[in-house]
């Protein structure tokens, strides 16, 4: 299938941009969706595919459980669920070098954290505000961090982390460590000046960054066409003289391929803008019933569910049976359940820790 969208389908050689891949106008482009290509075409091994399935399911079950725990008031604050978008996080985690490349994202960060290999225990404990949480209970849902995995946060100010992501890329290039930064933000964030400034700086300085707009069609209750004059968000790339492209965020094959291409470009110090069209099934956060969407729209989108799609592929290609996939699901549910127990048991942070990690020095003279 070809569609009227655009992506640089192969990385440019020697850092030179292939003019055909610099998207200045719409071009015909072949996509890489799971009903059209095989996983081996994409260089994915059978086992890896099953891992991807497990991981997407883990994100889903983790968040379903988190929603339940929120209802029980075990979790407070904002809780923005990623349900529906799991193909994006899993796609990128398989395309990048975890621990060498860097990731920064907004507040909808549970999915990417789990995809990058952070444990359900540390993530659930963070949601519970416990000392074993990935940010020691100081960050909560919106602020998952892992120095080890190079997840530079979950960030709560819409668009505020985009320049930071470009700065992380700047340091990769400065240190010549070969790493790239993958910087995620939403369709709402693209209208912040910080996006514009960051994209311009990234292109001006030729930084190893992939700017990824996760277009899930809504910024809170505002549909993308009510916020952006140009709804093909990837086209904004032309304004920064960088490649821009579109991927199907509901299809993990297409995500994986798109991220692989764009990360390769970034390794050649070619920044780019990748739009992934995805969808969140839940409201913006737990307090949002999502009344701005119709039932039909929801049903349509659920038919495109990334997990069901991959399941169909696995079964259809005799890589798994429904039963063996059910076993994976049971295993994942057990893991998540155990993480709730872990989070329950983990102590609350000691009160003195309120003064820790504000400054480097231990004896900072706080007003007490």
């Amino acid at each position: 299938m070809t569609r009227k969208t655009a992506r640089a389908s192969t990385p440019p050689a020697n850092g030179e941009q292939d003019p055909a891949n610099v998207i200045r106008t719409e071009v015909e482009y072949k996509s890489f969706q799971s009903d059209e290509v095989s996983h081996t075409d994409l260089g994915l091994a059978d086992d890896q595919l099953l891992d991807m399935y497990r991981n997407m399911l883990l994100q889903r079950r983790f968040e379903e459980r988190a929603a339940q725990m929120y209802g029980k008031q075990k979790i407070s604050g904002f809780l923005h669920l990623y349900i529906g978008q799991e193909a994006v996080s899993t796609g990128v985690a398989n395309a990048m070098k975890i621990g060498e490349d860097s990731v920064i994202t907004a507040y909808r960060d549970h999915g990417i954290a789990l995809a990058m290999g952070m444990t359900s225990n540390e993530c659930m404990a963070e949601l519970f505000g416990k000392v074993d949480g990935c940010s020691k209970g100081k960050g909560g849902s919106m602020h998952f961090f892992s120095a080890e995995k190079r997840l530079f946060g979950g960030h709560g100010i819409v668009g505020g982390h985009i320049p930071v992501g470009v700065g992380i890329a700047f340091a990769h290039k400065y240190k010549e460590d070969g790493g790239v930064c993958i910087c995620f933000f939403g369709d709402g964030a693209i209208n912040q000046g910080s996006f514009h400034e960051a994209a311009n700086l990234a292109s001006l300085y030729k930084l190893p960054v992939v700017l990824v707009v996760e277009n899930n069609e809504y910024a809170m209750g505002t549909a993308v066409h009510r916020a952006s004059a140009e709804t093909d968000l990837f086209k904004q790339a032309t304004g920064y003289n960088m490649p821009g492209a579109l991927a199907d965020g509901m299809d993990v094959f297409d995500c994986y391929r798109a991220f692989s291409d764009h990360i390769a470009m970034a390794r050649d110090n070619q920044p780019s803008l990748l739009e992934v069209r995805t969808y969140r099934y839940r409201g913006h956060s737990m307090s949002d019933p999502g009344k701005y969407r119709t039932k039909e729209e929801m049903e349509n989108k659920k038919n495109a569910d990334p997990i069901i799609r991959l399941k169909a592929y696995l079964v259809g290609h005799n890589l798994a049976t429904n039963e063996s996939l059910d076993v994976i699901d049971e295993d994942v549910k057990r893991e998540v359940k155990a993480s709730v127990e872990f989070a329950e048991k983990s102590p609350q942070p000691p009160l003195e820790s309120i003064y820790e990690d504000v400054y480097a020095q231990k004896d900072y003279p706080f007003l007490k």
Partner: protein
């Protein structure tokens, strides 16, 4: 010791530190090819090259954030704001990112970055180019705020700021860039952040003044000396952390205090100092603390209004005599 302008002392600090540690780089508007809007970075592009002395577009939010990301990922950026007035365009980066990421990440990430540039009034530039920002940034835990008054302190404190593992707001002054003073040439000349300087000894009244206000304080002390009144002058040098102990020690001796601060008065650093002093040394005070600040208005353009707007030595002199019940 060598005689240096304030701007030369700042440059010397940056150059010495950049020679020592190649993860340090300088970025900002006009810092490189133009040699610095106020020539603080003159010659640095030639010495360090375009990798480490970097011109930016007029994108304060963007390059402040870029610096923070670079700091998170192992570098030590120095980000120059052409003036601190323009930092307001980047305030989200400073307050929501630089100040808070260490805390929110449970200490996993540090943000060793210096934001520096001219702060406060610089003649008749009117309201948008004339803001003292110390109390704004000092209110946020996670940031350190430094405001030196002379070239030697500027050098020693900037070197400390660059080596500090936390984000430092380093406030200079446009009118002071050309002022001269003796500066240490020692390579490891570090003045600790958080230590005030007793600039003049006296027992009649304590006058506190940082940055340019320090010079007003010294002038005031000279005027008082002509009356036979010996004032003690304290230059806090660092706004956060504030060396309140040194101020208190002086007040326990003089029992009187006047604070000079060119910020707008409402919720200013002088408000904070006043509160901390009464909280900790109320019993030692023989008179209410007085403060001399900028007027509680935006800065005007007209020469006479601007002079009236700024804290003056005459006003401080009158205040000192008042707290001593001389008049």
């Amino acid at each position: 010791m060598a005689e240096m302008q304030f701007r030369e002392a700042l440059r010397a600090a940056m150059v010495e530190e950049m020679e020592r540690d190649d993860t340090i780089f300088l970025m900002g508007e006009e810092v490189a090819e133009y040699d610095g809007a106020y020539k603080v970075s003159e010659g640095m592009l030639a010495q360090f090259g375009a990798k480490r002395v970097i011109d930016t577009p007029i994108s304060e939010n963007g390059f402040a954030g870029l610096g923070i990301g670079a700091a998170l990922n192992g570098l030590r950026p120095i980000v120059e704001f052409m003036t601190w007035n323009f930092s307001f365009v980047a305030i989200d980066q400073l307050i929501n990112n630089a100040a808070k990421i260490r805390y929110m990440s449970g200490g996993q990430f540090k943000v060793p970055i210096v934001f520096r540039g001219p702060n406060g009034a610089a003649g008749q530039l009117a309201a948008t180019h004339n803001t003292s920002t110390e109390s704004i940034y000092a209110t946020f835990p996670g940031l350190k705020v430094v405001a030196p008054s002379n070239p030697d302190d500027a050098k020693g404190l900037l070197k400390s700021a660059i080596r500090d593992d936390d984000p430092v707001i380093f406030l200079e002054s446009e009118v002071m860039f050309g002022w001269k003073g003796d500066v240490s040439e020692e390579k490891n000349y570090l003045i600790p952040i958080g230590k005030a300087r007793i600039a003049r000894q006296g027992d009649a009244v304590t006058i506190v003044g940082h940055s340019k206000s320090y010079w007003v304080a010294m002038k005031t002390a000279e005027m008082l000396a002509e009356d036979g009144i010996e004032a003690e002058v304290i230059d806090p040098r660092t706004i956060r952390p504030l060396d309140i102990d040194t101020i208190l020690e002086s007040i326990r001796k003089t029992n009187r205090c006047v604070i000079i601060d060119e910020s707008n008065p409402f919720a200013s650093i002088s408000s904070e100092m006043t509160y901390q002093i009464q909280e900790r040394a109320f019993d030692y005070l023989d008179a209410p603390i007085m403060r001399i600040t900028a007027k509680d208005t935006p800065a005007p353009y007209a020469k006479n209004l601007m002079e009236y707007y700024m804290p003056s030595a005459q006003d401080a002199y009158d205040a000192c005599r008042k707290v001593m019940y001389v008049d």
